[in-house]
């Protein structure tokens, strides 16, 4: 079922998250990992872009990378689900393909 997209760069450094959002199809999942997790926080310049897509795609963030960066649940954008490494694997195997946005 659809594509699992991973984004591992901060949206404040480059346009990768925005490009991913622009190419993801309805029903796809986007998982933010590594510095990509900064994209999952509230009140940022990419919040609107993320929110406008959140009904069509499922948004995930890797909890370990959030914790490492001291981002607590209260700062996470609405509609973003935190997953652990097992959840990451589960997402990878339940989608037709994985596309990494480098």
């Amino acid at each position: 079922m659809g594509t699992l997209h991973t984004v591992n760069k901060s949206p404040f450094q480059n346009q990768t998250l925005l490009s991913c959002l622009a190419h993801a199809k309805d029903g796809d999942a986007i998982l933010m990992i590594e510095d990509g997790v900064y994209g999952a926080t509230t009140g940022t310049v990419v919040s609107d872009a993320l929110a406008s897509k959140s009904t069509d795609v499922t948004l995930y963030v890797l909890g370990a990378d959030l914790a490492a960066r001291g981002i607590d649940a209260g700062r996470m954008a609405e509609g973003v689900t935190s997953v652990d490494y097992e959840g990451f694997v589960e997402l990878a195997v339940t989608h037709d393909r994985v596309q990494n946005w480098l």
Binding site: G2, H23, A24, D28, Q99, L102
Partner: protein, 136 residues
């Protein structure tokens, strides 16, 4: 080869000389071409800069690999999807890109363009139609 043919897409989103990604992608495409798979390349975001005409790397001490794109047809890599919006955002048109052609063996070896200009929405379709997506 009797194994199932899979659809492979190589996604290029970076400019050619600032990082090694573009050159590495080409290397992998050429290696992959030996495995008789259904190969396509996507050029979007800064990746469209890889295909521009007139690249001259003499003074930066790096190999100019831009001519290699014109050789891809000889390896039966004949589908180069280029995103229209990415060109426009960068002030480019198709005329700024190299002329890349392949000989169609099913059509008396007629020379045909390898570059396929697609919209962002069409690029999303191309991506969703693959078995394997490799990003560079």
């Amino acid at each position: 080869m009797s194994e199932t043919v899979k659809k492979f897409l190589y996604v290029n989103r970076k400019a050619p000389y600032g990082t090694i990604y573009a050159q590495e992608a080409l290397e992998v495409v050429l290696i992959g071409a030996a495995f008789d798979q259904d190969v396509s390349l996507a050029f979007l975001d800064d990746g469209v800069f890889q295909l521009t005409k007139g690249q001259d790397t003499k003074e930066i001490g790096l190999k100019n690999f831009s001519a290699t794109y014109r050789a891809l047809g000889d390896y039966e890599v004949t589908k180069l999807y280029v995103e229209k919006e990415s060109l426009e955002e960068r002030g480019l048109t198709l005329d700024d890109l190299q002329n890349i052609e392949y000989e169609d063996e099913d059509d008396d070896y007629a020379e045909k363009p390898s570059i396929r200009l697609v919209t962002r929405a069409e690029m999303a379709e191309v991506m969703a139609d693959q078995d394997v997506v490799l990003s560079f």
